[in-house]
């Protein structure tokens, strides 16, 4: 029995071994046949090719995809320009050629060294771009003296231009040559001469925008003249990008922000999540970065202490201040800490632990329910309810409303911000949570940090009665968002209060109301430093003459129209003073503008 089993095994082994050997032999035969074809049958063809060494492969660079705003207005385009190239292989000596060329174009020492360094890095037959976007007069001079300039030729190229300059700079970013590190990244073509997106959408959509390079196989004689084209594969232009952004609103917002040193305005279409506007100032002109020489411009950007390269909407983190109170109120209602009718009395301050916690209104608001507390932004009310709630419940609700997260909108380097919790503090700071910190968090100060865009998403979710609005920067068909009815009862109360903020006499933003179309919102004023007792007593601390950097940030979040919300906004003016006096009027202007546009 055992032996027959083993015999069977050996028979199987041997039979299959034989088959496998046959398979391998036949595969080897196939390879051998291929080699035979190349070395014997086609040998003469390859021999002539090898003698003259005349096959060259030329890359045809693709045109970068265009980018449009939602109304098909071009916001990133390609402009025809003329560049000067050098092919090291075709020169007798690179130095000689550069000498002759310097009669027409100024080549300084650094430039010359850079060109020579570059020639050692690329393949000899590859062309190197040595001057970009040359003027018409230079073009003429070089063209007429072409025969004295070995290895130099002029080719048409396309330069990326952004017609609206600084309006979309943080969103679109800019393009530039890949550096050594980027060349080794996936999705970056291994072509050192092809621009890639370095920031913003140009970066995140680079694989789409870049297109496909074509190639030309050409036969060249010994003197370098092209004899014939053997094959040509055309390049394919990159895909077009259609953004959700509206040029008119974006431009309007950027212009409004220009009156201040730094700030951000974000507008989201609540119904489909489309981002209509994401403005951040100070900004920069990407055209000036792309056009060489750009050193001076770069230096001016880098030396600007307000860091114009930062997209404040996504990368700026601010204490949300009173705009955070909606979250705390929803949490308190949800977890039964208060009902819509519960009241707390505000005397201008409360004592907790061994500290005093002040309301912005020194004399106090008196008896407050949740609606009034939001309408008049009473701090004491929120100290009281957050004390009872505890930080972890606040954090839970905040995260449900999009705070502390980054969004899938293809914008690189978004900042998460901080939604503090006991666990967060333990893991990041290694300390345990103090109850007093809950109070401070309850009015959006302390550890809480949010980006302006997160606040806009938060407002969108509130305005849409809890639907999880997923923002998008691409023009999209109507999306059905997940309905989250978890908080719908609480949101109703909050929305009433947000209506009052703008539309009743006592509301903090009453001065910014619109007559023909009513909107709702919430002001916020976030402290950038703690106010000392002596300052508080002297009542000096709210004076406008304070040093700019010490002034409060002004915030406003809101949505329009109040009864059937269509658009949500967040406005932040850095060190702008109070939300009511600075941010709310800006939101009003933007809303009014959108309303007049009749989208």
């Amino acid at each position: 029995m055992f032996y027959s089993e083993q015999k069977k095994q050996i028979t199987t082994y041997n039979r299959r071994t034989f088959f496998l050997f046959l398979l391998k032999l036949s595969l080897f035969t196939a390879v051998g046949w291929r080699i035979y074809n190349i070395q014997i049958l086609d040998s003469s063809k390859y021999e002539t090719l090898s003698k003259k060494n005349q096959i060259d492969l030329e890359i045809i660079f693709p045109l970068r995809g265009k980018i449009f705003d939602r109304n098909n207005i071009l916001i990133a385009d390609n402009e025809k320009v003329y560049d000067v190239y050098l092919i090291p292989e075709n020169t007798k000596s690179i130095n000689n050629t550069l000498n002759s060329l310097s009669k027409f174009i100024d080549i300084d020492f650094a430039k010359r060294r850079k060109i020579i360094q570059l020639t050692s890095k690329v393949k000899k037959f590859e062309k190197i771009k040595i001057f970009e976007n040359i003027s018409w007069s230079n073009l003429e001079k070089i063209e007429t003296n072409k025969y004295n300039l070995e290895g130099i030729f002029i080719a048409e190229d396309h330069l990326r231009i952004y017609p609206y300059k600084e309006v979309f700079s943080h969103l679109l970013g800019y393009i530039s040559k890949p550096n050594q590190k980027e060349l080794s990244l996936p999705f970056i073509s291994k072509m050192p001469n092809l621009d890639i997106g370095k920031e913003g959408l140009e970066k995140s959509f680079n694989p789409l925008l870049v297109g496909k390079a074509g190639q030309r196989e050409i036969e060249v004689n010994s003197s370098g003249r092209v004899i014939r084209e053997i094959s040509k594969v055309d390049s394919i232009q990159g895909k077009e990008l259609h953004l959700s952004l509206d040029l008119r609103i974006q431009e309007y917002a950027v212009n409004l922000l220009q009156s201040y040193r730094a700030g951000s305005i974000n507008v989201i279409n609540i119904k489909n999540g489309e981002i209509l506007c994401m403005a951040s100032t100070p900004t920069y002109d990407p055209n000036k970065i792309i056009k060489k020489p750009n050193k001076e411009y770069w230096d001016s950007i880098l030396s600007n202490s307000l860091s114009p390269l930062t997209n404040r909407s996504l990368q700026g983190l601010y204490s949300p201040g009173s705009t955070f109170k909606m979250i705390v109120a929803i949490a308190a209602l949800k977890y039964g800490v208060i009902s819509s009718k519960s009241t707390h009395s505000c005397s201008g301050k409360i004592e907790f632990g061994d500290r005093l916690y002040h309301c912005w209104k020194t004399n106090g608001h008196g008896k407050m329910d949740v609606t009034n507390a939001i309408t008049q932004s009473c701090d004491v009310f929120f100290y009281e309810i957050s004390k009872k709630l505890g930080i972890d419940k606040i954090a839970k609700v905040a995260e449900d409303f999009g705070l502390g997260q980054i969004f899938d909108i293809s914008m690189p380097n978004q900042k998460k911000g901080i939604i503090p919790s006991k666990k967060w503090k333990k893991t990041t700071l290694g300390e345990s949570w103090y109850a007093g910190e809950t109070l401070i968090s309850g009015i959006g100060q302390g550890f809480v940090l949010t980006s302006p865009f997160q606040l806009a998403v938060m407002t969108s979710i509130i305005a849409s009665d809890g639907k999880i609005v997923e923002p998008t920067i691409l023009k999209s068909k109507n999306i059905n968002f997940k309905t989250n009815s978890k908080y719908s009862d609480e949101i109703k109360i909050i929305k009433k209060a947000m209506f009052n903020v703008v539309n009743i006499n006592k509301g903090t933003a009453f001065k910014s109301r619109l007559q023909d179309v009513k909107f709702s919102g919430k002001t916020g004023t976030s402290q950038v430093r703690s106010i000392s007792l002596s300052e508080r007593e002297s009542d000096e601390f709210r004076k406008k003459e304070q040093e700019w950097k010490k002034r409060d940030h002004a915030l406003f979040v809101g949505y329009i129209p109040y009864d059937d919300p269509q658009y949500a906004i967040s406005v932040i003016i850095e060190h702008g003073g109070s939300g009511a006096s600075t941010a709310a009027p800006i939101a009003k202007q933007v809303f009014n503008y959108i309303h007049k546009l009749n989208l």
Binding site: N14, L27, I35, S189, Q215
Partner: protein
């Protein structure tokens, strides 16, 4: 005892190895414009050292090798994983690890330990159990774990060769053909699912690897130059050191993956077909050893090693002649590179060992 063993070594096999590595050295000598530096001399020194290692391996007690198969497999797997971890920490893909001043590519070593582990597994189970599905689970693990770690490196050439190697071995031990077909279909279906599990940066690495159009100049150019070199060699070649090489200058891998084209240019069709013939002979010797061996362990081991060499040779020549995309597989014993040569010579040591112990009745744990 040792002298007896040394006397009985399969000298035909050793002769073939020496011949192939000498051809490699000649090619490398020519690739360096007629100089032993930087490749040819190191190639030969490595070969002698590794040949010594192979002979030492060949005279080790086969029971000892048999006993530690799984352990060796796990160690090589850990090396492979450590490369991935180092790659992550160093923020860059790497396939190498430095041991005793030698850059080792664990994915090459792992191929040998896969053969060992599978040989032990199928040696140990009863033949009637081979057909049972439940007995497929373990071999599947042996193949799939290293495969996944090689794929995410990403080294598509090596990961493909691991799978092919596995299929060859599983075929030999008597797995039914329909299971291969089923497995193939299952693989096709599970690819998108598997892609979900790996980290985004790894996914990007693989996708960009599969998309050679990101480098249109590189590969197209390499292939044209490679074909010109081969074709211009004709039937008898331009003669040793007579290759013009002007077009090979742009081949970044002329001393490694494209060495075959260089030899093809200088020695022509006669040279290339002779190399193929030598490899066929080498593989046939391994097959013969597998055939005459009494125990399954040795049979599978010799056959696995033969298949491993076959995969290298076939993929490399098919690649440089344009039958397969350029995936970066060297030609064993001829291409420059210590890691592959070490793994080939270790595996040859194992085959020599099997050849010395072919008449053992059965290996088991007892």
């Amino acid at each position: 005892m040792i002298f007896q063993k040394l006397k009985n070594l399969n000298y035909l096999l050793i002769f073939l190895l020496i011949l192939l590595s000498f051809i490699g050295a000649a090619g490398l000598y020519s690739a360096a414009d007629g100089s032993y530096q930087p490749w040819a001399s190191r190639h030969l020194i490595r070969f002698y050292v590794f040949l010594l290692i192979a002979i030492v391996i060949s005279i080790i007690d086969i029971k000892l090798i048999y006993k530690y198969c799984y352990l060796l497999f796990i160690i090589s797997l850990l090396l492979l994983i450590s490369v991935e971890v180092i790659g992550v920490l160093g923020k860059g893909a790497t396939r190498w690890i430095r041991i005793f001043g030698l850059s080792i590519q664990p994915s090459e070593i792992v191929k040998i330990t896969i053969i060992l582990a599978l040989a032990k597994f199928y040696n140990d189970i009863k033949f009637e159990n081979v057909k049972k599905i439940s007995y497929l689970f373990f071999p599947f693990l042996i193949l799939i774990i290293p495969f996944i770690f090689v794929v995410i490196q990403p080294d598509l050439g090596t990961s493909l060769s691991i799978i092919t190697l596995g299929i060859f071995i599983l075929f030999i031990v008597g797995i039914r053909l329909w299971k291969f077909i089923l497995g193939f279909i299952a693989t096709i279906i599970s690819i998108p699912i598997l892609l979900q599990f790996i980290k985004p940066y790894q996914r990007e690495r693989i996708i960009s690897f599969l998309n050679p159009e990101s480098d249109p100049l590189g590969q197209g150019y390499q292939l044209i130059q490679s074909k010109i070199a081969l074709g211009s060699g004709g039937s008898t070649g331009k003669g040793f050191l007579q290759g013009t090489q002007s077009y090979l200058e742009y081949l970044p891998e002329k001393q490694t993956d494209f060495i075959f084209t260089l030899i093809g240019e200088e020695f022509g069709f006669l040279g290339t077909i002779f190399i193929i013939f030598l490899f066929v002979l080498l593989i046939a010797v391994c097959y013969f050893i597998s055939f005459k061996c009494f125990h399954s362990f040795g049979k599978i081991l010799a056959l696995g090693v033969a298949s491993n060499i076959f995969i290298y040779v076939f993929m490399n020549i098919a690649m440089v002649s344009g039958l397969l995309p350029v995936v970066g597989i060297p030609l064993p014993l001829i291409s420059y590179g210590g890691s592959v040569m070490l793994s080939i010579m270790i595996s040859m040591g194992l085959v020599l060992n099997v050849d010395l112990n072919y008449n053992l009745k059965k290996l088991n744990n007892a």
